[in-house]
């Protein structure tokens, strides 16, 4: 990974952030991501499940349990401690990056 590059894409960040409050199934993850981003990030179902498969392969989420609803299986995904650590580290990185700009622009506005 290039130095200082993001550890994850924006989509991955919001999927992991959606799981911080507890295990969710696919549809609930979609709704939580849309709510967290005020409908700015709306994932397609194929994209979401591709991301979930990839994250599970990396061990940052696991399948907590399965339920059968209307005769169809539904998996609940849980973020692992490693996943929580990664998303927290990404949040700090973005916070530091944002501070580089906001500290100056806010300073300039206050000097006015």
């Amino acid at each position: 990974m290039p130095r200082d590059a993001a550890a994850m894409s924006e989509q991955t960040y919001y999927v992991l952030a959606a799981l911080l409050d507890g295990p969710l199934h696919g549809h609930a993850i979609l709704k939580r991501v849309a709510a967290l981003t005020h409908d700015r990030v709306v994932l397609a179902v194929g994209t979401l499940y591709g991301a979930l498969d990839r994250l599970a392969a990396h061990g940052v989420i696991v399948v907590e349990r399965e339920e059968v609803v209307n005769g169809r299986r539904r998996r609940y995904f849980r973020i692992t401690p490693e996943g929580s650590g990664l998303v927290a580290a990404e949040a700090r990185r973005m916070q530091q990056a944002a501070a580089l700009v906001t500290s100056r622009t806010l300073g300039a506005i206050c000097a006015f």
Binding site: A7, M8, S9, A44, T47, D53, G71, R74
Partner: protein, 293 residues
């Protein structure tokens, strides 16, 4: 079942069968729950997501075996498709050898390498003797003229060395695969490539040249190598590069026999296959943009 559900089920066929059996209903459930009321056509962005997700799932499903042995199997399969395609237009004159060549390919596709080996040896000897103007096993009227797909006599522009070299390469590879006792299986769709590769294609080069190339073959080879580059990019896996490299060795053996006759079109074709094989080898080792990619 509603019309929308039936259409989404059809879209799910982009996913491999195993994935559909395990998670198809779950995806369908979410697709239907997120659809606007009254919708009968799948949303374009959902279709794009299902196509991309399905192709990625198929690529991932193909990377569970050892990449080097599977790459060897892939390369041998591609060469054997070309070998069967060489016989196909002459089926009326040499039906046994076309059938044996197709049977060898089918055996390799099903992972029966020891069954394929004698079939490859027999067709290899026959191919060599035809290209060298000799007889083997049965009397064959030479030159062998085509019935369909091309207007060139069998092995007219191929040297006996190039013919035998590719058969020796396949035989050695099959012995190596058989020694591992691991059956590699590929889709029967590879058989559909045989007539496509045999077709001489639309007029492109002067047919009187010592070594005319087929435009349709070039397009098919470039498309397959392009798919290999993409798969290697998605999966960060070298098996498609190895398969392409083996096929390139077979093509290069042929090209090397005609060095003095090569035109700019030949060099462009050779360069394109070489570049795409190199790209397939390079993309698995590209730098990661994100740690979780």
């Amino acid at each position: 079942m509603t019309r929308l559900e039936r259409r989404y089920r059809a879209m799910l066929r982009f996913y491999p069968a195993g994935y559909r059996d395990a998670h198809g209903d779950e995806l369908l459930d979410v697709l239907l729950e997120t659809a606007e009321p009254g919708r009968t056509l799948p949303a374009a962005r959902e279709c794009a997501g299902l196509v991309a997700g399905g192709v990625q799932a198929r690529v991932r499903a193909n990377t569970r075996t050892n990449p080097w042995w599977d790459g060897l199997h892939l390369g041998l399969t591609a060469i054997m498709v070309a070998q069967a395609a060489a016989f196909l237009p002459y089926t009326g004159s040499v039906p046994i050898w076309t059938a044996l060549s197709l049977a060898a390919l089918l055996a390799v596709l099903r992972g029966h390498h020891l069954i394929a080996l004698p079939l490859v040896a027999l067709t290899g000897v026959k191919a060599f003797t035809i290209s060298d103007g000799q007889q083997f096993f049965e009397l064959t009227l030479l030159p062998v003229y085509p019935d369909l797909l091309t207007d060139q006599p069998l092995f007219r522009s191929t040297t006996p060395f190039a013919v035998s070299a590719t058969y020796v390469l396949v035989a050695v590879g099959l012995i190596a695969l058989a020694s591992r006792r691991a059956g590699h299986v590929r889709s029967g769709w590879w058989l559909a490539l045989v007539p496509a590769l045999a077709w001489m294609g639309p007029e492109w080069m002067d047919r009187d040249l010592g070594y005319p190339l087929s435009l349709s073959r070039l397009i098919l080879e470039a498309a397959l190598l392009g798919a290999g580059v993409w798969a290697g990019y998605l999966a960060r896996d070298p098996r498609w590069a190895l398969g392409g490299a083996l096929y390139l060795v077979a093509v290069s053996t042929e090209m090397a026999q005609h060095l003095s006759d090569l035109t700019g079109q030949h060099l462009g074709y050779w360069g394109l296959l070489g570049f795409m094989t190199f790209a397939a080898a390079a993309v698995p080792y590209r730098q990661r943009r994100h740690a979780l990619d």
